[in-house]
Point group: C2
DNA sequence: CTGGTTTATGGCACTGAGTGCCAGTTGTAG
DNA sequence: CTACAACTGGCACTCAGTGCCATAAACCAG
């Protein structure tokens, strides 16, 4: 008669022994200490007290570790774009969504910085990021397609998505090397600067 | 008395048994037949009649095979940018350089298309391309830096480089899926369309 | 021709990521 | 207790990439 708290189906089968977040913590500690490349999956599994084989049931690859729940983040960005007033100019809407998407409480900055330092700094992860960023681009492309009445795989939506990803990465790279700067301001000014570069004459500064 | 043709230093030591270009041919045939991922380095080495170990003296990794002499190509793009009249607006100069850089005789199109289909289509190569494209971006960033009087790692040059790479890749993706289109026209209109997207109002088409 | 030097070759053994298979474990429901 | 479902992790395997090193093929000087 334990009155089974409603909305807790309690699935059958053995419980998971750990979580992605927990493994990420263990792994990040090792990455910080020994570097990403000199940390083997065996090291992570041992430190977490699980089998090597089990690690690959939590992460499809070692490269996936720093990505957290990226899919959920993308869903958030998609919602932000969907909530954009239809009257706003396309690029303004995208810029605002990107800036909002990367806003977060100040106490999360160090952890986020560490995560992105790995993703954009370690060559193996930098390479792998391309595959993850494809989903990011798809979010932008879908929005641009809907706004321009084209298919998401048409040239314009695809181009805007690729370009905006590039600008965002540029902003992040700048953020990672300048501890004082605000990420959102960097992203905002990077996008605006690109727009200015297209209209301003030759040697003018974009800032 | 063979009159040793001048300008042929004749280096000492054993001659190379093959060349990158020759290995590339052998490898591409296997890739076409079995797919990139199902072709092992052993397969390539055997087909080329060399040892597996020797393969890695010609290519640092299997992922490098489709890239040909990319460094030489980049040097060419750098020269094209350097030869740009200083009066030309920055983005016009970059656009023109990118278009010129990707121009080639029609008989080279099929081979180039095949090469790029691998690089941008196979996930492992797509990921690896990020590392190669960093050098491409550096060429653009250096030019943008010189034109705007900023350092190459400043926000604006970096942003322009990242964005232009994105646009170029978008143009290539479009080209690979539409056999009839002209690559240079796609690249040109992609860059122009991005510029228009920044200035035109909301839902306007960029075409 | 011979020995010394230089460079390329490729075999061997090793690390490390990722995978298929499968027996064993831990939970549920009846 | 039985049936079932899901997670665990060991074992063996493939494949990319690397260090080491003996050998082969070129050159040059004597």
């Amino acid at each position: 008669m334990t009155h089974q708290a409603h909305r807790l189906p309690v699935p059958p089968g053995r419980r998971r022994i750990t979580s992605r977040a927990e493994l990420e913590q263990v792994a990040f500690d090792l990455f910080d200490r020994n570097g990403f490349e000199h940390t083997t999956v065996d090291d992570i599994a041992s430190a977490a007290g699980i089998g090597r084989r089990t690690f690959f049931r939590y992460f499809a690859s070692k490269n996936e570790v720093p990505w957290g729940d990226f899919d959920a983040e993308l869903a958030r960005m998609r919602r932000q774009l969907a909530a954009t007033p239809p009257a706003a100019p396309l690029m303004d809407a995208i810029r605002q969504a990107i800036v909002d998407f990367n806003a977060m409480p100040a106490e999360q900055w160090p952890a986020h910085r560490r995560r992105m330092t790995f993703i954009l700094g370690v060559p193996a992860l930098q390479a792998h990021s391309t595959l993850r960023f494809a989903a990011w681009r798809q979010v932008i492309a879908d929005f641009a397609a809907q706004r321009t009445g084209q298919r998401p795989d048409a040239l314009l939506p695809r181009t805007i998505a690729h370009a905006m990803l590039g600008v965002a990465v540029a902003g992040y790279e700048q953020w990672l090397t300048s501890p004082g700067d605000d990420l959102c301001e960097l992203l905002d000014s990077a996008i605006r600067a690109l727009g200015s570069a297209f209209t301003s004459a030759g040697t003018s500064s974009g800032e």
